[in-house]
């Protein structure tokens, strides 16, 4: 049995498949379960010729059931957390079936518990012949990740995988194909432009799209994760971030709002408006934020200028905004990220990173953005 899946790549030899929901979890109403299962199958139907029909008796290609511990196959569940569900690759009989661990708490939309839609969509990938992907942004990545089902779009990695088995959806409207499947950024992409960079209790966090790379002293390879895996209610595609070593929080900025997290937890009262820092109403977003450890000031970059905020007094310093090049040699244009690392100040400008001595403002080096991402 262990070698079977290495030798063949099972797929269904037909495009019309049936499914049946054998029983229900008490965690959700039957209509919520029905809706979650239907939407989870639709995720795959949207990008392939596959079509799913629900039946209410007999034996369907994909039998769906909830069970705990030993539940009739050779693969017992393990109680709360751990393994959430499993499914069988396409084949007659048990093949295609999906089993959900009844000891989990399944939910319809909220992220307290496991969103059944997300778990089901992943398991139906197995039911259709896919195995796990090592792309952390993929639906077929083996670790559960919360996503909002209402805005979920099947990532590119999964689309490529399922279309390699069944081809594209012949009914897709070429004029309105729908949202582009999201791709997972590559830290060693020479054209990489980071959204933001921050420290976080001894680590470095590099933000890009809905991901971040986490690099800490002992690691040689930065760890890529979804931002929402770490902070479920954090924004993605952020503008700026910094760690206030004064308040021991990390702050994420997007548009006119700022979120503060203490460890994993959203700080009470956030998100709040960036004007709470004393920035003028005319500032609709910031491009980068930098906490200067020596002075205890936070610099907010907006276009080709910057503001200085006193973390202790919680007030904006007088005499700002200033032009960035008044302090940073040659910095005449907009920046994309800013941070301090080992006593030096780094300011990202598109694909390049400028290394400064903040005390003197002198430009020491021009580096590639991915310089600290250990490529």
């Amino acid at each position: 049995c262990q070698f079977l899946h290495i030798w063949n790549n099972p797929k269904w030899e037909k495009n019309s498949l049936t499914y049946m929901i054998e029983n229900y979890t008490p965690d959700m109403s039957t209509s919520e379960v029905d809706d979650s299962i239907e939407k989870a199958l639709q995720v795959w139907a949207d990008v392939t010729p596959l079509r799913f029909t629900r039946i209410y008796s007999g034996t369907a290609d994909i039998m769906i059931s909830f069970g705990s511990k030993s539940h009739g196959d050779f693969y017992p569940f393990d109680g709360p957390d751990g393994i959430l569900a499993h499914a069988f690759a396409p084949a007659p009989g048990l093949g295609g079936d999906a089993h959900f661990d009844e000891d989990e708490t399944f939910t319809f939309r909220s992220n307290t518990g496991y969103v059944l839609f997300m778990v089901a969509a992943h398991e139906f990938g197995h039911s259709l012949g896919l195995s796990h992907s090592n792309d952390p942004g993929a639906l077929m990545y083996p670790v559960y990740t919360y996503s909002n089902p209402d805005t979920f779009v099947l990532p590119r990695d999964d689309v490529n995988g399922i279309q390699s088995l069944y081809g594209p959806n012949p009914d897709k409207d070429p004029v309105q194909p729908g949202p582009e499947p999201p791709t997972t950024p590559n830290s060693c992409d020479s054209a990489l432009v980071l959204d933001a960079v921050s420290t976080l209790r001894g680590e470095m966090i590099f933000f890009k799209d809905s991901f971040f790379w986490r690099s800490y002293p002992q690691s040689t390879t930065p760890q890529q994760s979804l931002i929402t895996n770490f902070w479920p209610n954090a924004p993605i595609n952020i503008d700026a971030a910094y760690e206030s070593q004064y308040s021991d929080n990390i702050l994420l900025f997007k548009g006119r709002r700022v979120w503060a997290f203490s460890g994993y937890d959203l700080v009470r009262g956030y998100p709040k408006s960036i004007s709470s820092f004393g920035l003028p109403e005319s500032v609709s977003k910031i491009d980068a934020a930098l906490y200067d450890v020596e002075s205890g000031k936070t610099l907010f970059f907006v276009g080709s200028s910057y503001y200085s905020y006193d973390e202790a007094k919680k007030t904006m310093d007088q005499g700002f905004p200033k032009r960035s090049d008044e302090t940073f040699t040659g910095l005449t244009s907009k920046v994309t990220a800013a941070f301090q690392y080992k006593g030096y100040t780094y300011i990202n400008r598109g694909q390049h990173m400028l290394k400064y001595n903040l005390r003197t403002g002198s430009l020491l080096r021009v580096l590639r953005t991915s310089y600290l991402l250990q490529c």
Binding site: C1, Q2, L4, H5, P10, D73, Y75, D81, G82, I83, L84, A85, H86, A87, F88, A89, A91, G93, L94, G95, E104, Y114, V119, H122, E123, H126, L130, S131, H132, N134, P136, P142, V143, Y144, G202, Y216, P217, Q218, S219, T220, T221, Q223, Q224
Partner: protein
């Protein structure tokens, strides 16, 4: 800086069970006279490579490997035999 945590016996049992469940670690049968990389270490390296972790083949290097093992996850694609 994160304080390196000692690897407990429970950690080792958990890791072995994880590797059996998700990375086809098989019980070693027959004479164990050949020296070489232990199957556990080999599978641990495979798991670390899959998740983009630092590849050490051991649990002691850093917490990331153990943290990843503890995350809620999906079972591997099963095959009816």
């Amino acid at each position: 800086v994160p304080i390196p945590q000692e690897v407990t016996v429970e950690d080792e049992y958990f890791a072995e069970s994880y590797l059996k469940n998700f990375f086809n670690l098989t019980e070693e049968t027959g004479p164990t006279i050949r020296r070489g990389i232990s199957p556990v270490s080999k599978k641990l390296s495979e798991m670390q490579r899959f998740f983009g972790l630092k590849i050490t083949g051991t649990l002691t290097a850093d917490l990331a490997t153990r943290e990843k093992m503890k995350k809620p996850r999906f079972g591997v694609s099963r095959h009816q035999c």
